[in-house]
């Protein structure tokens, strides 16, 4: 969404315009859901988190800072809610398959391997610390820029890089173990 249009929608929403806010929701709910699902791996919990994040966004619109994009702001809210959710222990046992365009069951061997890999990465990500996981999800899976990740997580560039390094190291080691076990079969 163009930044000027987005800013206009934010201003209107802050004045109580529901239609303007609906447009913001429609434009950003996919990102919010995607982040939430990558953390929770559960449809219902992800939807609850998305709703909560948008309600928070609505309440805080008067405090909106122009230098923040809605995408970054929303990513921050969703990530914080996900981390709270993980802390609260509401997390369900992994790993059920997520609902997504790439998640439909298939007999295609490549797709099966892809699903298996996805499941492995999700499990490996579960072993990361909260900060490492948040950085990994936003940077490597949601492909936010390093600056957006720093803004969303309110982290310095150095802190972000350090967390990303450990996250990638652990994921790489996990994948290597998986492949080394798999290869002899």
């Amino acid at each position: 969404m163009d930044q000027a249009i987005e800013l206009n929608l934010v201003r209107k929403s802050a004045e109580g315009d529901h239609q303007a806010f609906r447009q913001l929701v429609e434009a950003h709910q996919h990102l919010a859901y995607s982040i939430a699902f990558r953390f929770t791996q559960d449809e219902n919990e992800s939807e609850d988190i998305v709703q909560e994040a948008f309600v928070k966004l609505w309440k805080n619109l008067p405090k909106y800072k122009v230098e923040f994009r809605v995408k970054t702001w929303l990513s921050k809210m969703v990530t914080n809610l996900c981390l709270d959710h993980l802390k609260s222990g509401r997390k369900k046992n992994l790993v059920s398959e997520g609902r997504g365009k790439g998640n439909e069951p298939s007999i295609d061997e490549d797709k099966l391997e892809h699903e298996e890999l996805k499941s492995i990465v999700v499990r490996l990500a579960e072993q990361l610390t909260e900060k490492q996981k948040a950085v990994f999800v936003l940077r490597d899976l949601e492909q936010l820029t390093p600056e957006e990740v720093c803004q969303a997580l309110q982290m310095s560039a150095g802190n972000m890089k350090s967390n990303l390094y450990y996250a990638r190291l652990k994921i790489k080691e996990g994948l290597q173990k998986f492949y080394s076990v798999k290869k002899p079969e």
Partner: protein, 172 residues
């Protein structure tokens, strides 16, 4: 710089500045073990990027939007309720109101007392005589009443047992 200094940057190639990348590239060209580690992380990143392309979408986006909008509407109606005001804020308002009432009543009492004091201070010696006479008359008349009340008990010149019982009976 040795391999140790480059270890972290090998994992952060895309996040490096141009000058950091140039330094790392130069090291990788001369260090076989770091080049192997670089290839390994690149392979892992390739797998992760593949997963990142999976589009994760809500099962029913239209329903999710309308759920969000209904929650927003609820928030608006809840926002009109006094109960959305935090408890501490309501308690503070209540305490302020009580304090104001107490202050006003203290002020009224103070003004009333000082007015009475001013009236008393304004009394002249004549007034005091009139006032003392009034007190004397009141006491005297009370004494008369008491005296006449016990007149039929007899024993005016001595206190007999019968007189005392009669007085006690009337006092009861």
């Amino acid at each position: 710089m040795g391999c140790k200094e480059f270890e972290q940057n090998i994992y952060l190639y895309e996040e490096l500045s141009t000058s950091e990348r140039e330094l790392l590239d130069a090291h990788l060209a001369t260090c076989a073990s770091c080049a192997v580690a670089f290839d390994e992380i690149n392979e892992a990143q390739r797998v992760i990027k593949k997963l990142a392309t999976d589009e994760i979408v809500p099962p029913n986006a239209a329903r999710l939007t309308s759920d969000v909008m209904s929650k927003i509407a609820d928030e608006r109606s809840d926002g009109n309720s006094i109960f959305t005001v935090p408890f501490w804020a309501r308690a503070r308002v209540a305490l302020t109101a009580v304090s104001v009432v107490l202050l006003v009543s203290f002020a009224v009492e103070f003004l009333r007392d000082s007015a009475q004091l001013r009236n008393i201070q304004a009394l002249t010696a004549d007034h005091w005589v009139v006032l003392n006479s009034k007190i004397f008359r009141d006491n005297f008349s009370q004494g008369k009443v008491r005296h006449s009340l016990f007149a039929d008990c007899g024993g005016r010149f001595g206190v007999s047992q019968g007189y005392l019982e009669c007085v006690r009976g009337k006092l009861k």
